[in-house]
Every structure is written in C-alpha cells, then in structure tokens.
C-alpha cells in the first residue's frame, strides 16, 4: 500500500529581548550558572510577575509576518505540571486566547508553491536547564534560562514530507531573523521543535494516529526524525499493528526515536487564567504601527530579485535567506554593480573565503562599495576575472581599495595588442612543435598557445584579445 505522511510542527523560539518575560533579569545566553536569577524567575512564593511589553510587540510582529489575525483580547494562563526545571510547578503560557492565530507561511518545494497554515502563536516562559550527569544521585538545575521569553508557533498538519518540513523551518527561521525578534541560534537552543507525525493510506481522509517528538534541537534532527517516524509507522501498519499515540524522544546520536511516556500517564495540564497577570488588549493603532515596522520579508524579496534583477530562483533564494546577505547584495547593486555579477561574486569566492574563515557577512573587512568598484574594474577591462580572484583574496586580508591592490600586486590587465602580439611571437618561437601540429591538423593547438601566453603574461593579458590574436595568427599560417 502507498502511504502519505502528515506532519505538523511546533516551534519554540526564544525572543531576543534584553530582559526575561516576567522579571528584569538579563535574557542572555552563556552566563555563569544561576546568576541571571531573582525571586520571580525562581518561583519564590509571594512574588509578582510583570509582563515585558516588548515580548507582546515581538510576538505580534511574528504574527503579522506570518499573516496571522491578532487577538485584540488576549490573556495568559497557567499550565500546571511538575518538573524541576519549572520551579513554580506551572508554566505561564497562553491557552484559549493566543496573541496570534490563523496565519500561514508560503514555502516553495521543487519550484512549487505551497501554503502551510499557522494555527496560532502564543507567548510563554522558558524553563531552566537540568543537568543529570554531574552528580550520581541528584539532578542539578541552572535557572538562568527560566523565564526567558518564548513564542510557540504551531503549524497546521499541512506538511507531507521531510522536505516540506525543511522548507517550512527554513522559511520560518528566515522570517524571525528578518523581523529581528529571535536570533534563531540553534546551537544555543534558541529554536526547538516538537514534531507531530502520522501516516495514512493515500486517498484516506482521516488522519492516522500520531506520535510526537519533543524538543528536537537541530533541523537535521527534525528531518531525520520525521523520516524515521514515517518508516516506523508504516512498518507497524504493514505488519497489521496499531500505532500508539505517544510522546517520543529523538536520539540524534543513535538516529532513532524512543518512547517517553505511556498513555495512562497522559497529561492533564489544568489550564486556568493566570490571576497575577492582567488581560492584554491590543489597539488597532498598535497593530498598524508594528505592521509598518516590518521589513520586506524573505520570500517577497526573493520574488522581487527574480523579477527585478532577473536572478535565477536558486541565487534569489540563497541571497535572501539571511537579511544581512540581502542588505549587502543590495548595497553592491546600489553602488553600480550588475546584479548577476554581484550575485556571482558573493555566492562564489566571497562565501568560499567566508567559510574558510568562519566569517559572517556582517564581518566582511571590505565594503559593498569596494566590491562594486572591483566589479567595475573587471567590466572596464582593467583586470581579468582571474586577477579579480586575487584581488578579492587580498581585500579579505588588507581591506584596501581594489584599485590600490591592483597597483600593489601589478595585476593590471594588458589590453594593448602590440604588447600581447610580442608575447605571442615569443611563445610561438619557443614552441615550434605546436605549429607543426597545427599544420598537421592535430589537437587543440590554439588552446595550448593561449594557455602559454596567459602564463607568460602572469595572467595579465586580456584573454579575449589573446584568443582573437592567436586565432588570427593561426589562420594566416
């Protein structure tokens, strides 16, 4: 039988506010253990949480960027459960009135557009960090992360493959980074996913029984986990078994998922309105203001790059995934470079060298204007493409203007025909055999001679001119 997978994803994204959600402790990764803590975020009795206004703004921005309706009347609720990473024994979250609902994200998979529904986005607090391996008989807790603001973005079960899930997550991450509400650093746990997977025979309307993988902290883990679960479900069904509705943990090292909790332990969170926190009422003016603050979003930018600059979809997608890259690219164009040349240099040599140096585009030592200048020097024939590669390498080292580097390294292209002709004559003199070969109709003699001329000119001869002159010369023989 043929099966179809049904996938829904809940993404927890840490917001990049300065302070935590309900107290003024710093929201900062990597501090000394238990030094970003106060009585509020460690859940001491008698303390009063006060909501960070920026958390509301950020969540609404995320909602608007994901085409959600904003709930003008929203509240916070207690979600009750016992786990020591949560000192109050409840998490403040949102139950029936999330800040944002009914949105969507458009993704492109293999050139086809697909719309993935966003059921809701709500605000909540993160939990502390448990360490099980430090001491033999106890678990240790660092509450620095406790109370860090999160948004939970819940998708509809609209995805049908790991590939679609990958596109959804990439797009979602790009949006959050563009609107600057989360740094999305997966290695720091800023983005974590719960993944729901079920399968059903192709054509069946009803969903199959789903399993949920909690707290997957890498995109590759999500994708491998999805494929693993799809296969596991299909195997169970093919063997005539029944898939259990359960929570599982993705073990990235072993590449398997393992069952966490059995059914009889099903959670009853007993949500109720948080009595310490007042309702959140959102005015239309506020929504309008936040909407106006949104930048051009990645997929819209990508479409514009294809339309306005005539870039291929691949280039347009690559250049718009990170806002910093797109910003740099647009500055290069604004400084006069052609979009295709700018795109080729950024996605080619610049990214290669950046990778070698573990560098971000924000850290480039040279400016967009300097790159545009270099491209102009290629266009005007002052340097060859080959020489330009040396110039770029040097710009990474010295951050000097390309014109200066060309002077320093003597990379100026030789366009003068008589100068090039004299090199050609020397080369032909030194390679009498190649001329015999040519007369005998053997091999690619022109190619060989061009190579020799370029070599003798140390790459500085204009290759087009060399090509032309050599072919003229050979034609006369």
């Amino acid at each position: 039988m043929n099966y179809e997978a049904v996938i829904g994803i809940e993404v927890h994204a840490e917001l990049s506010t300065d302070t935590k959600i309900y107290c003024s402790c710093a929201n900062k990764f990597g501090g000394e253990i238990n030094t970003h803590c106060c009585p509020v975020c460690t859940g001491m009795p008698g303390t009063l949480p006060v909501l960070n206004g920026k958390v509301v703004d950020y969540a609404i921005k995320a909602g608007l960027a994901m085409n959600c309706d904003i709930n003008k009347n929203s509240k916070q609720d207690r979600k009750n459960y016992f786990y020591p990473d949560l000192p109050k024994a409840y998490q403040i979250s949102q139950f029936d009135l999330p800040l944002c609902k009914d949105g969507y994200i458009d993704i492109t998979v293999d050139g086809e557009k697909k719309r993935i529904g966003v059921t809701r986005i709500h605000i909540e607090e993160d939990a502390g960090k448990l360490m099980h391996d430090v001491t033999p008989d106890s678990s240790l807790i660092d509450y620095n992360r406790c109370g860090v603001p999160l948004i939970e973005i819940v998708s509809e079960p609209d995805m049908r493959s790991a590939k679609e899930a990958e596109e959804y997550l990439n797009t979602l991450k790009a949006i959050l980074q563009y609107i600057n509400v989360s740094d999305c650093k997966m290695q720091e746990g800023s983005l974590r996913c719960d993944v729901n997977v079920s399968v059903r025979p192709v054509g069946q309307k009803e969903y199959g029984v789903r399993s949920e993988m909690k707290n997957v902290s890498t995109f590759s883990g999500v994708l491998r986990g999805i494929d693993y679960e799809i296969n596991r479900h299909i195997e169970i069904l093919e063997a005539g078994g029944v898939v259990e509705q359960e929570t599982r943990r993705w073990d990235d090292g072993k590449g398997i998922s393992v069952s966490l909790r059995s059914k009889e332990d099903a959670h009853d969170y007993r949500y109720f309105p948080e009595p310490d926190l007042m309702p959140i009422i959102i005015a239309d003016e506020k929504i309008e203001k936040l909407k106006n603050e949104l930048p051009e979003l990645p997929h819209i930018k990508r479409d514009r790059y294809m339309e306005q600059y005539g870039l291929p979809e691949y280039d347009a997608t690559q250049l718009t995934t990170l806002k910093a890259t797109a910003d740099f690219f647009e500055l290069v164009i604004a400084a006069g470079a052609s979009p295709k040349a700018a795109s080729n240099w950024i996605m080619g040599d610049i990214w290669r060298i950046m990778n070698e140096k573990y560098m971000l585009i924000e850290d480039l030592p040279f400016s967009a204007k300097q790159l545009a200048d270099m491209i102009a020097l290629i266009d005007s024939g002052t340097i060859s493409n080959t020489a330009a590669k040396q110039v770029i390498e040097n710009m990474f080292e010295t951050a000097k203007d390309p014109a200066v580097i060309i002077e320093d390294l003597g990379l100026k292209q030789v366009n003068d025909e008589s100068e090039i002709l004299s090199i050609i004559d020397t080369v032909i003199e030194q390679n009498p055999k190649s001329i015999e070969d040519f007369k005998g109709g053997k091999g690619n003699v022109a190619g060989f001679l061009i190579g020799q001329v370029m070599r003798m000119s140390k790459g500085k001869a204009n290759p087009q001119t060399v090509n032309k002159l050599i072919n003229e010369k050979l034609a006369k023989l």
Binding site: S24, H36, C37, N52, N80, S139, Y143, L277
Partner: protein
C-alpha cells in the same frame, strides 16, 4: 455536581499529594460542597455578558525591557533545600 472519591484520588495524584482514606472521605465531601457552591453561579443569567478572566478592570500592565541587577548566586540559593556546585539540587529525574 457531586465529586467522587475517584476524582479526589486523581486530583491528589496530579498535585503529588498523598491522602489517607479518612482524608479522602472528608475531601470528597468538602470538594462537593465547594463545587456545588460554584454551581449556584451558573443560575445567574449571563446572556450578553462577555467572559472575563479577571474581576477588576485593569489591563495592559507592562514592564519596560530594561535590565536590572539579578540576585547574587549565594543569595538566590539561600532558599534551596539542597544545593551543589552553584546549582539547585533535586532528586535525580530522568525522563
């Protein structure tokens, strides 16, 4: 609405409370009385009244996103029943 002993057991389990049989019997009575009292509220005509989570008309209580000093680690750990290596320490929990 009547509360059963089973429901008391369930709620006690969720709250991680141990209750003796005697207490269970008493709690069943008490909780039934409380719920029945709440039932009288449902007799009120609430047609056209929007549901509210709070009784007082206060909304949008926000704080500026400005960092203030946290507690010193030794101070924040003063209320910890057990501590070790700068951490709160609890009986081993492994999922």
């Amino acid at each position: 609405m009547k509360i059963t002993e089973k429901e008391v057991e369930y709620v006690a389990k969720l709250a991680r409370l141990y209750v003796s049989d005697e207490e269970k019997e008493k709690l069943t009575k008490d909780m039934s009385a409380i719920i029945e009292f709440a039932d009288t509220l449902s007799k009120i005509d609430t047609d056209g009244v929007a549901p509210a989570a709070h009784a007082i008309p206060v909304q949008n209580v926000f704080r500026e996103d400005v960092v203030k000093d946290s507690y010193k680690r030794d101070d924040i750990l003063k209320n910890a029943p057990e501590k070790e290596a700068g951490c709160f320490s609890v009986p081993k929990v492994v999922e």
